[in-house]
C-alpha cells in the first residue's frame, strides 16, 4: 500500500478525514433525504405491526426451543420488501439508497436487534457480493432475491467467513497470512470443490445463498482467497449445529459444513487468478493481488460496520426508551424517578449516547458515499438514471449487458482500481470508529437502563435485559472492538507515521 510520504499531502488527507460530512453536502443527491424518510416510515410501520409485538415472544420461544427457525418473520419481511429495499433497481431491487440501511436497522434494532439482524445480515451477504463488482453474479443472485420476493419465497443471502480457529484473523488481510484456516477450495474442471467448516454464520439456516470465503492454498490464504456463492441444497453442503447464544437469539448463528461440495465456475465471485489477470491487463495497477483482496475485504467491512453501528444505535435507543418509560411510570422513594435530578442526568447521558452513535454511522456513510462502495451509486447522474429509468427498460435492455465480462472489468477498473489508498483508509477507518463507538455506547446505555430500573431492569418482561444480552454481540462481530481500534489506528493514524506497520509490536 502506498505510504503518504509528503507531510503536505498527509495533512490534506487528515483534513479530509475530519470533514467528510461537509464535503458531502454538495455531492449527495437531494432525493436521498426523501428516500431515507420513506424507508424509515416503512421500518417504523414494520416495528409497530410486527417487531415490537413479537420481540419478547420470539426471544422466549428461542429460549424454550433453541432450534426454532423464525421463518414466519422472514416471510413477513420478504412480503414487505425489506430484502430488496436496498438492492439497486439495476438488479431488480427497489433501489433505496444504501446509507438509509443504517437508519432502517437502527429503527428495527430499537425494538429487537435479533429481528433487525434477520434483515440486516442479508445485506452483509449482498455487500460482499457487491464488493467484488462481479456484475454478472450480482445480476444473477440479486434478481433471484427479487424473484423470491415476487413469488413469496424468501431467498436471502449470508456471508460465511469465520472458521473454528480463525475469527479475527480472517477479518484482516494483514493477519490472514498467519491464520489457521481450513476451508479449502480446489480448482476442478468446470468449477471448484469446497471442503471445510464455517461457524457463527448469521442467518445461515435461513439463507438460500451463502457468500463463502475460502482459500486455494491453506498455507498462503492471503494470496489465494476465493469467494464463491453456494446455494442451499447444493450436494456436499449441509448445516451443522445452531449456536446457543446469550442474545440475538432469533437470528440463528449456524455452522456450515462442506464435504466435496462442487460449485460451478459461474458462481465464483472472485478469485486471486482473476485479480491476477486484472493486474496484468491494467498494465500499471495500483495494487498487488493480496492488496486487491484486502481492498475487497475493506469494502465489505466499511459498509457492514456502518450497519453494526446502526444496530448499536438502535439498541442504545431501545434501552433509553425503556428507561424513560420506566422513569415516567415509576415512583421510587415516594417520588417519580423522572422528577429526580440524578435520574434526569442519567437519561440525558443516555440520550447523548444515542445521538453520538448515530452521528458516527452517518459520517461513515458519507465516507462510503464519497470514497467507498456507494460512490458509483451516489454519483448524481448515476443515481438519477437508476432511479428514473423505467423498470421494463432496465430489465430488458440494460440487464443483459451486465452478463458481459467487459462490464465487470469496467466496474472493477472504476471502483477497485479507481479508489485511492487514502480513500480506502478513510472509509475503513471511519467504519471501525462508528462500529466500536456505537456498540460501546449501546452497551453503556443498556447498563444505565438496568441501573435506573433496578430489579425491574433484570426482568425479562420489562425488555431492558434483552437489550443488554443482544447488545454485547455488537462489540464482538464484524471484528472485535479491539480489532476495530487497531484498524482505525492503521487507517487514520499510523498510515502517516514512519516505520509503523500494521499489527506489529
Amino acid at each position: 500500500m502506498a505510504a503518504l510520504d509528503e507531510p503536505r499531502s498527509a495533512a490534506k488527507s487528515e483534513l479530509e478525514d475530519a470533514i467528510v460530512s461537509l464535503q458531502a453536502l454538495q455531492r449527495i443527491p437531494r432525493a436521498v433525504l426523501r428516500e431515507t424518510r420513506q424507508a424509515l416510515e416503512e421500518a417504523k410501520r414494520f416495528n409497530r405491526e410486527v417487531i415490537r409485538p413479537r420481540a419478547l415472544e420470539l426471544d422466549m420461544k428461542m429460549q424454550e426451543d433453541p432450534d426454532y427457525l423464525p421463518w414466519d418473520f422472514v416471510q413477513e419481511a420478504n412480503r414487505r420488501g425489506f430484502y430488496t429495499m436496498f438492492i439497486p433497481r439495476l438488479f431488480g431491487g427497489r433501489g433505496y439508497n444504501i446509507p438509509a440501511l443504517s437508519c432502517v436497522l437502527e429503527e428495527m434494532a430499537s425494538a429487537c436487534t435479533a429481528m433487525a439482524n434477520l434483515v440486516g445480515v442479508h445485506y452483509l451477504g449482498i455487500d460482499t457480493l457487491a464488493a467484488s463488482w462481479n456484475m454478472r453474479l450480482m445480476n444473477k443472485i440479486m434478481r433471484d432475491v427479487a424473484e423470491g420476493e415476487r413469488v413469496g419465497q424468501p431467498r436471502i443471502v449470508s456471508l460465511a467467513i469465520t472458521e473454528p480457529e480463525a475469527g479475527t484473523d480472517v477479518e484482516e488481510v494483514e493477519l490472514l497470512s498467519k491464520a489457521k484456516v481450513t476451508c479449502r477450495v480446489e480448482r476442478v474442471k468446470g468449477g471448484r470443490v469446497i471442503n471445510g467448516r464455517k461457524i457463527f454464520i448469521s442467518n445461515g439456516h435461513l439463507s438460500t445463498w451463502h457468500m463463502l470465503v475460502g482459500y486455494e492454498d491453506l498455507q498462503r490464504p492471503e494470496e489465494t482467497t476465493v469467494m464463491l456463492a453456494v446455494k442451499t441444497g447444493t450436494k456436499g453442503f449441509s448445516f451443522g449445529r445452531m449456536e446457543k447464544k446469550m442474545g440475538q437469539r432469533a437470528c440463528p448463528a449456524s455452522e456450515l459444513i462442506f464435504e466435496d461440495c462442487f460449485v460451478p465456475e459461474e458462481n465464483v465471485c472472485f478469485d486471486y487468478g482473476y485479480m491476477d489477470r486484472m493486474v496484468r491487463w491494467l498494465g500499471r495497477p495500483r495494487r498487488s493481488v493480496p492488496e486487491y483482496t484486502s481492498q475487497v475485504i475493506h469494502y465489505v467491512l466499511s459498509t457492514s460496520r456502518a450497519g453494526v453501528a446502526g444496530f448499536a444505535t438502535g439498541v442504545a435507543r431501545g434501552a433509553y426508551e425503556e428507561a424513560l418509560r420506566f422513569a415516567v411510570e415509576t415512583e421510587v422513594g415516594g417520588k417519580r424517578l423522572i422528577d429526580q435530578e440524578w435520574a434526569r442526568c442519567l437519561l440525558a447521558e443516555m440520550y447523548k449516547n444515542v445521538a453520538l452513535a448515530r452521528l458516527s454511522y452517518v459520517e461513515t456513510n458519507y465516507a462510503n458515499s464519497l470514497y467507498g462502495m456507494f460512490k458509483v451509486l451516489q454519483w448524481k447522474p448515476m443515481f438519477y438514471i437508476l432511479k428514473l429509468t423505467p423498470r421494463k427498460m432496465m430489465d430488458s435492455v440494460v440487464a443483459p449487458f451486465l452478463n458481459l465480462g467487459a462490464v465487470t472489468w469496467l466496474f472493477r477498473k472504476i471502483c477497485l482500481d479507481g479508489q485511492k489508498d487514502e480513500e480506502m483508509q478513510r472509509t475503513s477507518g471511519w467504519a471501525s470508529l462508528s462500529k466500536f463507538a456505537a456498540s460501546d455506547f449501546g452497551l453503556r446505555n443498556c447498563q444505565l437502563a438496568l441501573d435506573l430500573m433496578g430489579r425491574a431492569g433484570v426482568l425479562f418482561d420489562q425488555g431492558a435485559e434483552k437489550h443488554l444480552r443482544d447488545c454485547k454481540l455488537l462489540q464482538i462481530y464484524e471484528g472485535t472492538n479491539q480489532l476495530n481500534r487497531l484498524n482505525l489506528f492503521n487507517c487514520l493514524i499510523g498510515r502517516s507515521l514512519p516505520g509503523v506497520r500494521a499489527f506489529e509490536e
Binding site: 424454550e64 480457529e165 433484570v458
Partner: protein, 381 residues
C-alpha cells in the same frame, strides 16, 4: 475463635471449592435453562448436607467468623455458578434478619420442624426472601392483620427468591396502626399462598424468584412490630459484604476462564495472551479482582475488630465490587470473542449473573444515595 472452629471453616472452604468444581461446573448450562428445565433440588440438598445453608444458624461470639466463612464459600461457589450461591445468600439473608430480630429460637424451630418432616411436600428447609428489593418497597404490597395470636397476610410480593422451592418465606408487611413495616414468617406450599410461575430474569436462573399472592396466609411476626427496617438495616450491614463476595467470585471465575482461553487461542500466529492489548485487558480484570479481594479483606477485618463505621465499609464494598464486576464480566466475554457469547464457556452466564447481582439488596443508585446518608451519620458520630 477456637482452633477447632478455624479448622472447620478451612474444611468448609475447601469443600466449597471442590463442590464448585465437581458439582456446579457440570450441568451448569442445563440448570441455567430454568424455567424451561426443572430445578435441580438434589444439588441444593447436597449443599445443605455440606452445611452451606446453616452457617448463620448461631449468633454470638462466633458470628464474625461465621460470616467470614460464608463469604469465602459464596465467593468460591460464585466462581462456577452464582445461582447456587444466590440460594445460599438468600437463605442466609433471611436467617440474618431473624437473628437481628433477636429470634435465634425461630431458626431452631424451623430446623426441628424440617427434621421431623413438618414442611410442605417437595419443599426444602429454606427461607425465601425478596432479596432484590428494598423491603420497604415490598411491604407496600402486603398487609398483615392480627387474628387469634397469628397474623394473616394479604396482598402480593413480587420476585420472592426461592419462593418456588423453600418451605417458608420471610416477608415484610405493614400492619394497621403500626408505623413502618414488620417481618412475618409464612409457611409456603399451603393454604392462603399462591405462587406464580418462575419469573424469567437476566441471570441466576436456577435461583428463581416467583410472585407470591397472599390470601390470608397464616404467618407469625418476627421480632417487634414496626421494627422491620431496623432489623433489615442491621442484616444488610452485615451481609452487604457477602453480596460483594458473590460478585467477586463471578469476577474471578471470568478472569480464570479468560486467562485459560487466552493462553490457548491463537490469532495472528501467536497466543492471544501475547497481544499487548489482550494483556492490558487481562491486567485490568486482574486489578479489579485484586482490589475486590482487598476490599473484602479490609471490611472483614473491620467487622472482626468492631471498628466504628464498619457498616459503611461493608456497604461501600458491595456497591464498588458490584460495579467492577459488570466491567470485568463484559471484558471476560470480549476476550473469548464469539465463543464468549455462546453458552459453552460459562462467560455469558457470568455476564448475566454479574449484572443481576448488581441489583441484589435493592436498586443500585438508590443504595448509593443512601450510602452518603449512612456515611454522613457515621462521620457525625
Amino acid at each position: 475463635m477456637t482452633s477447632q472452629r478455624s479448622e472447620e471453616w478451612k474444611l468448609l472452604e475447601r469443600m466449597s471449592c471442590e463442590f464448585a468444581l465437581r458439582e456446579l461446573r457440570t450441568g451448569r448450562e442445563e440448570r441455567d435453562a430454568h424455567p424451561f428445565a426443572p430445578l435441580d433440588l438434589d444439588l441444593l440438598r447436597k449443599g445443605e448436607e455440606l452445611g452451606f445453608f446453616s452457617l448463620l444458624q448461631e449468633d454470638g461470639e462466633e458470628a464474625p467468623a461465621n460470616l467470614r466463612a460464608l463469604n469465602l464459600i459464596l465467593e468460591n461457589l460464585s466462581m462456577e455458578d452464582a445461582a447456587f450461591a444466590g440460594a445460599v445468600f438468600t437463605h442466609s439473608l433471611s436467617q440474618m434478619v431473624i437473628l437481628q430480630a433477636g429470634r435465634a429460637d425461630v431458626l431452631d424451630k424451623l430446623k426441628a420442624k424440617a427434621a421431623e418432616g413438618g414442611t410442605a411436600e417437595g419443599r426444602l428447609p429454606l427461607v425465601a426472601f425478596p432479596s432484590f428489593d428494598a423491603p420497604g418497597e415490598t411491604a407496600r404490597g402486603l398487609r398483615a392483620e392480627k387474628q387469634d395470636g397469628n397474623y394473616l397476610l394479604t396482598g402480593k410480593a413480587d420476585f420472592v427468591v426461592l419462593g418456588s422451592m423453600a418451605a417458608w418465606a420471610l416477608l415484610p408487611a405493614r400492619t394497621m396502626g403500626v408505623e413502618g413495616f414488620s417481618f412475618f414468617l409464612c409457611p409456603l406450599g399451603g393454604e392462603g399462598v399462591e405462587a406464580g410461575p418462575a419469573v424469567l430474569s437476566l441471570g441466576l436462573r436456577s435461583c428463581p424468584g416467583v410472585d407470591l399472592v397472599m390470601k390470608g396466609a397464616v404467618s407469625s411476626l418476627v421480632g417487634e412490630p414496626g421494627e422491620g427496617a431496623r432489623y433489615y438495616g442491621s442484616a444488610a450491614d452485615l451481609l452487604a459484604v457477602s453480596a460483594a463476595a458473590m460478585s467477586l467470585g463471578v469476577m474471578k471465575g471470568s478472569l480464570r476462564e479468560a486467562l485459560q482461553y487466552a493462553r490457548q487461542r491463537v490469532q495472528g500466529g501467536r497466543e492471544i495472551i501475547n497481544w499487548s492489548e489482550v494483556r492490558m485487558i487481562l491486567s485490568q480484570m486482574s486489578l479489579h479482582c485484586r482490589t475486590g479481594e482487598m476490599l473484602l479483606a479490609a471490611v472483614m477485618q473491620e467487622m472482626a475488630e468492631g471498628k466504628p463505621g464498619w457498616e459503611v465499609s461493608s456497604r461501600a464494598a458491595a456497591l464498588q465490587v458490584q460495579d467492577m464486576a459488570c466491567q470485568v464480566v463484559s471484558d471476560g466475554v470480549q476476550l473469548l470473542g464469539g465463543n464468549g457469547y455462546m453458552r459453552d464457556y460459562g462467560q455469558e452466564k457470568r455476564f448475566r449473573d454479574a449484572h443481576q447481582l448488581k441489583v441484589l439488596m435493592g436498586h443500585h443508585p438508590l443504595r448509593k444515595l443512601e450510602f452518603l446518608r449512612l456515611a454522613e451519620d457515621i462521620d457525625s458520630h
